[in-house]
Symmetry: C2
Subunit: 373 residues, 2 copies
Amino acid sequence: MNLQRVADKLDISLTRLQNLQQTVIKRSSWPEPRLLRFEKATSGIEAGTIIFENGEIVHGYPKIRRAMMLAAALRRHFSDRVAVEEKMNGYNVRIASVDGEMVALTRGGFICPYSTEVAEQLVPEKVFHDHPEMVLCGEMVGPENPYVPKEVYPTDSIDFYLFDLSRKGQRGTLGVIKTHEFAKDYGLKATSLFGEFGRERAYEETVRIIRSLGKRGREGVVMKDPDNKVSPLKYTCSESNCGDLEVAFRYYNDYALDFFVSRAVREGFQSAEWRESEEERTARALRLGKSILFPMVDTIQKKIRGEQIVQHVQIKVKSLQTAREFEYHLRRSGMKAIFDPPEPSDEGYIIRIARPIMSTNDKTQALLEGDTW
Amino acid sequence: MNLQRVADKLDISLTRLQNLQQTVIKRSSWPEPRLLRFEKATSGIEAGTIIFENGEIVHGYPKIRRAMMLAAALRRHFSDRVAVEEKMNGYNVRIASVDGEMVALTRGGFICPYSTEVAEQLVPEKVFHDHPEMVLCGEMVGPENPYVPKEVYPTDSIDFYLFDLSRKGQRGTLGVIKTHEFAKDYGLKATSLFGEFGRERAYEETVRIIRSLGKRGREGVVMKDPDNKVSPLKYTCSESNCGDLEVAFRYYNDYALDFFVSRAVREGFQSAEWRESEEERTARALRLGKSILFPMVDTIQKKIRGEQIVQHVQIKVKSLQTAREFEYHLRRSGMKAIFDPPEPSDEGYIIRIARPIMSTNDKTQALLEGDTW
């Protein structure tokens, strides 16, 4: 790797790059190709940015800021028109081609063997044949998404939805218009584009969309500048905020505390901005309260019955090698997971995975035995 | 101060005491008498332990552990009988006499000028005349409690309820029986003692008491060993947990995050242990959800109307000097507070105090202006 050229492309000095290699840049030598990844954002370089062994760079996908008071945020953030797209609830991957091989990169900058196998099946080779420099930014969703399994999308396995494009070695993305054109040209699925609205009408349209998405168990929207001049904003449905809380409280001793407060605060702002009636606000309070209380009671009752607190997920793979590699990938990411023996299915294997939720499991057991808090 | 004698009384070496003076022991020279206080627990010495200039020691009041699964905790913790006392919702003070002067000490080990004035009015001089070594441990409660103002106690100002006794220079407390006898002998109010129960019956009795206290807006109970051989346990009402959440979410950006989760988790364990029906559990979820959502919406609406987010409290003092000193005491404790001019009342002055809740105020304002999260 020619470090001077990499530094030039990253727009930092060689010395700076060398210093970063002692701190925020981590080496990953598996699976091939080997790479360096930025574990944190620094010097204007996004976290998850990758430098491959051949010197090619894939920039990290920028974090999207969240609107809390929607109308005010739309007014303040956008200058003219607003494109409203669905925000899907899965995990973010960037798919690129390196030395002729397709790789799917996680948010943190690892190559995920499972996502790579999924990408190889869903992304036509023609994409990278025509555009070897392209990076497909999108969401992996569905029930066989091993991180956030969701039944609400039209797939019984896992699917990839494009939501942005970028180019290797280049900062920034190509924006909503080019992304949807590209998806159409190559027969890729893209996240739903609900429309483009004037900044003033965007509020009521987005609220209408959010209500409808919420009823269907979907997550929310990303609002983008059609001219791609300002960064996007996100906004989520009450049902999705509460869904996050359900997970958080099912595993109350394992999930970060601030996870919780942020979701609850979103509910406060949405309720205030929507000028809810007493009845609507009470219904929201009940939804919020249930999403906290019920999964927690469920966990405690499970433990009273002597069951372990475990999260079950499954994936489907073409090759057993992918399953073995994915197991290793989870382990290096610090995730405990127990893989069942593979079950042959139509065109490959179903792998059931159990993720023990250790801290909640042990804490609940101890409290049931009379431990104090 | 003879340091060797102090070290002996604390049961640590002189060197250890001298080392602690560089770290956890802080000096407080106002108001008189001057003292050293243990800012943190160390070497088996409770946080809030005080060494007065004359060498006398008042030990910190021990932290009481919380039962989460009540029946299991009672079974595990107590060997025989359990005395159930009310846990009152105010602030903890220790009242002692030093060089013939009464002082009220905060949990952290400061002399509070306001609490001292209150103590001087409520504690007969005979108490310390007869027992100069006694330390009265109790709760200051009522609407003119400037930290946790509550209307649910039978006072329209502030009152002191004894809940334990200790002796200067001695670790440990004298226990529930001696405390109530002492209160009776000297005409002091003591926290309600609901009864003494066998360990097995204590669960159902406590649940009955908790339900009844909850309906009256009270906080909960402390369960004590009548023989004072094992440390007490506490347990609180759902209404009180939710009341804490109301405060936390009214000032959602100022209060510690873990404050929140711990209250919610208590609700989960209570609901599971009480084997609530679907209807009861739904009612609890609604109460929980409302306690989070409604105060937050209230704060946001206040800010929309252009009001400042401020907490109003008031105290009543005999002397204006006490008010000035209390203002200084709050400031040194790191609390922002704006004191209104004193209003003469029956036997002294009413002082209204506004506590600006800066972080929530500013954050809400910024979000209303379209800031992102």
